[in-house]
């Protein structure tokens, strides 16, 4: 049985519980608004920034914010090139960021085994400062969701009428992307640059298979993210693996089970 008296494990569990808040609130919008690829990209493009932050001894979150801002600007610039679709632009930047990160880590700074931690996360390295960052983002997520969920709902349902309903869809959507970017950045410490989708997308995608209502989706995704997070901490500590891969295996397995179960469920027959 896991011994939660160890401070690093307590921090890991608190981190996972805090991450469950954006995983439920923002994760639902990520799934409904089809922003999973964006979420994955924000995590991945931060990889070279994390290598630099590690080498120069600066806060990884600040470096990741700079990377996310650069990503957003570059994507907007590329998206204006009409011959390049938005997802193709995202893919291009994502591959470029990985390549730059690998070159920086292997040839410039010779980061060695630390690359694994940057890509797949670590429970041991979590500091109190990391927890405070995550807590701030979790609290900010609650406020954002409270203020803007009607905008996100109406604009996601049918964007053309949102302004006529008295809403501000463009501003609300920009803040949604900013909130997702912030959540992805604070998830980096725990699950690494390549696996932020595992905490921000997979739980909501799993619960989406089970419900057609918004409130159960949000609460269910939050509860599932918390449960999977704690289980991942136990698995990672027991098997001495990264929390990111443990959570990925757990989340992927639960998603596969639920998807199989819903596929096999007898469907209602209408006369």
């Amino acid at each position: 049985m896991i011994d939660f008296s160890a401070p690093y494990l307590q921090r890991a569990v608190i981190e996972m519980l805090l991450l469950a808040v954006p995983a439920g609130l923002l994760g639902s919008w990520i799934v409904l608004r089809r922003l999973a690829f964006f979420t994955h990209a924000v995590g991945t493009v931060s990889f070279p920034a994390l290598v630099l932050a590690s080498a120069w001894g600066i806060a990884p979150q600040l470096a990741a914010v700079a990377a996310a801002l650069g990503f957003g600007a570059a994507q907007e610039r590329l998206a204006r090139t009409r011959r390049l679709a938005a997802d193709a632009a995202t893919g291009l930047l994502l591959v470029g960021a990985l390549a730059v990160g690998v070159v920086l880590a292997s040839d410039v700074f010779e980061s060695g085994t630390e690359v694994d931690t940057l890509l797949f996360g670590s429970l041991i390295g979590l500091s109190d400062r990391d927890l405070w960052f995550t807590a701030a983002v979790a609290a900010g997520t609650v406020v954002l969701d409270l203020a803007l969920r009607r905008h996100w709902l109406a604009a996601g349902f049918e964007a053309g009428s949102a302004r006529a309903l008295g809403l501000r869809p463009v501003l609300a959507d920009r803040l949604l992307l900013a909130g997702i970017a912030a959540a992805a950045i604070v998830a980096l410490d725990a699950v690494g640059a390549l696996l932020v989708s595992v905490v921000l997308v997979v739980p909501a995608a799993t619960v989406r298979l089970l419900t057609d209502r918004l409130a159960p989706l949000r609460l269910g995704a939050m509860a599932l993210a918390a449960a999977e997070g704690i289980a991942a901490v136990w698995l990672a500590d027991s098997l001495n693996v990264g929390a990111g891969p443990a959570l990925a295996v757990m989340g992927g397995g639960v998603f596969a089970l639920v998807a199989t179960g819903t596929a096999l469920r007898p469907r209602a027959v209408t006369a």
């Binding site: 009607r150 709902l153 349902f157 006529a164 008295g166 809403l167 057609d212 918004l214």
Partner: protein, 248 residues
């Protein structure tokens, strides 16, 4: 309810290109239903965008008694979104609901009443995506009713809907007219537009505006639709080719 719609010399468009609509000039009084006719790309939806304040206007002015309600074409809505008919109707109260408050009890009651008014009182909790096309259109109209706007803009609300839905929607139009609201409706069915109070013909610019009997002449329709005009029933009925390649 008073005000109506006044548009004077309106010209506008997106970006730096040429005007998407120009020389639009009409007055729709309270209690009037205006049919807006025109070919695809003729500026009908663009005019609505201008009335909603979403189109950069280069010349002219639009005077409205308040923010209009807008009913989009139903296929623009996401059918996989987890919202019920009630959830969608309730969106009509968002403008007057502070972000930190729940939607008021009175608005929740009115949302149900609006759904009953369009004949969907028994479908309140049904997922929007599970409704028929005509029912979805009626839900979007219920949402507009809840906005309690003096001016309503409806983008092809009668395109492809079943007979029951069409009859319900026409009955709502009659109610709105009696309540003194101004209703602008885009349509490709010339005969249908002929039954309303005014007709506005657009083809990039305003071709004609006035009473149906005065406006709906073969010359005006030819100028409005050009090659997209189809004459049916021995010349007694004419339709424009719709957005999706079918006539209504």
């Amino acid at each position: 309810m008073n005000g109506g719609v006044t548009v004077r010399g309106l010209c506008g468009g997106y970006g730096t290109g040429r005007d998407a609509v120009r020389d639009v000039d009409f007055v729709a009084e309270p209690g009037q239903i205006v049919g807006v006719l025109g070919p695809n790309g003729g500026g009908k939806t663009t005019l609505f965008r201008a009335l909603l304040g979403e189109l950069p206007t280069r010349r002219g002015e639009v005077v409205l008694p308040g923010p209009p309600a807008y009913v989009p074409q139903t296929e623009r809505a996401r059918l996989d979104f987890p919202v019920s008919a009630f959830d969608v109707a309730l969106m009509g109260a968002y403008r007057r609901t502070p972000w930190f408050r729940r939607v008021a009890r009175r608005d929740r009651y009115n949302a149900r009443a609006a759904l009953e008014r369009v004949g969907l009182g028994d479908r309140v909790g049904v997922a929007f995506g599970a409704l028929s096309g005509g029912q979805r259109q009626r839900v979007l109209i219920a949402r507009a009713l809840l906005q309690e706007a003096a001016v309503l803009l409806l983008d092809e609300p009668l395109s492809g809907v079943d007979g029951v839905s069409a009859a319900r929607i026409e009955a709502v139009f009659a109610d709105l007219r009696a309540e003194g609201r101004t209703v602008l409706v885009t349509t490709h069915d010339v005969r249908q537009a002929g039954e309303w109070d005014r007709v506005l013909c657009l083809n990039g610019r305003q071709i004609e505006y006035g009473r149906p009997a005065a406006v709906l002449s073969p010359e005006t329709l030819r100028e409005t639709y050009g090659a997209e005009l189809i004459v049916l029933e021995g010349g007694s009925r004419a339709v424009g080719i719709g957005h999706h390649g079918h006539a209504h």
